[in-house]
Amino acid sequence: MLDKNGIAKRIAKEIKDGYYVNLGIGIPTLCANYIPDGINVVLQSENGLLGMGPFPLEGEESPDLINAGKQTVTMLPGSSIFDSAMSFGMIRAQKVHLTILGAMEVSENGDIANWKIPGKMVKGMGGAMDLVASAKNIIVAMQHVNREGESKLLPQCELPLTGIRCVKKIVTELAVLDVLPNGGGFKLLERAPGVSVAEIIAKTKGKLVVDGDVPEMEI
């Protein structure tokens, strides 16, 4: 089973040379720490920054330079700043190659719910609806089950949707899964170290396709 850093590390293997990448809040942010050596990747922050660097050194933080999670950040050489309309313009026009974000639920046709729990949480969708409606390649980083032990990979989302038929890949503490086109379900690609196929089947409520031997992931 993977911890949060393990999930981030596995997802980071999907990041290729030359990619512009948008990382969501939480586990996705950790992916920045595991981008493979020797490749050139530019991180986009939807509040208007390309070329986001690491957190600043103590004492060098600036109130004018933050990421979409409102954390103080830095800029790498070659960075650029733009307004929020251009930021979502480059997302909508698919200039950003990969979006990695968290989710509360994903359905077997790739619908995602991650912005609202009626009666409990009313924080808003931020940029998530724009990102999932436009990105070519969306990877979800999440736990396989919720705190009550219920599967978050469902036949249909029960929570209000953020976007429809958009998630391409899911990485959880247990597995790597593709979302097959046309409602084909979740295809099990890899198991986390020490996790059995039986456990993944037991914890996946939506349609799960298991085809032959499922390799253990290499991270």
Binding site: P56, I66, K70, A85
Partner: protein, 232 residues
Amino acid sequence: MNKIYANAEEAIKDIEDGAVLMLGGFGLCGIPENCITALVKKGTKNLTCISNNAGVDDFGIGLMLQTRQVKKMISSYVGENAEFERQLLSGELEVELIPQGTLATRCLAAGYGMPAIFTPAGVGTEVAIGKETRNFNGKDYLMEYAFDADFALVKAWKGDAAGNLIFKDTARNFNPLMAMAGKITIAEVEELVPSGELDPNFIHTPGIYIHRIFQGSGYEKRIEQKTVRKRL
């Protein structure tokens, strides 16, 4: 044509109860601090505020929520404000949550003189309820209208007497968009200089969009999430 005002109190004097306002900023980054303070002092009520966020409990738009000056918020994310959540759940405050890119592009449309835009954000979700949908090249898009705001309150790093503005780092965010979109736009700047001192090649917002400008004072520029690396 004098656009220069002495301070925020003078610049916002004619904002009446019930006005529709745009306020620039992302989180607490690049918010019009002086204008917010002046509005709290003036006590203008029943405001509709279009702003990506609603501040925190004791700073930014949060200050106007404490004094019950806001009737309605139009925002994309309001997670940092407990008083906001309380007023929302008790029904004191009307809230319209919209996708962040939609918010930005509805400002852009207003500033570009376009009545509406089409966006895929929110298709198939509750955001789409009651909205016209059009299919272009096999993909569905929602029609979203340009905003119609009485005043836009924006914050810039530098400005000149002609109203030209330059923003600093990610404090740019919604500010140039809202600057274009207000019927009357009020810009507060950290440094106000005479015309001719800013290089025209590096202006972010041309002065034509700015009706009033003043040099702000006492900027707190509060950091919402200070995240740093330890020095070794």
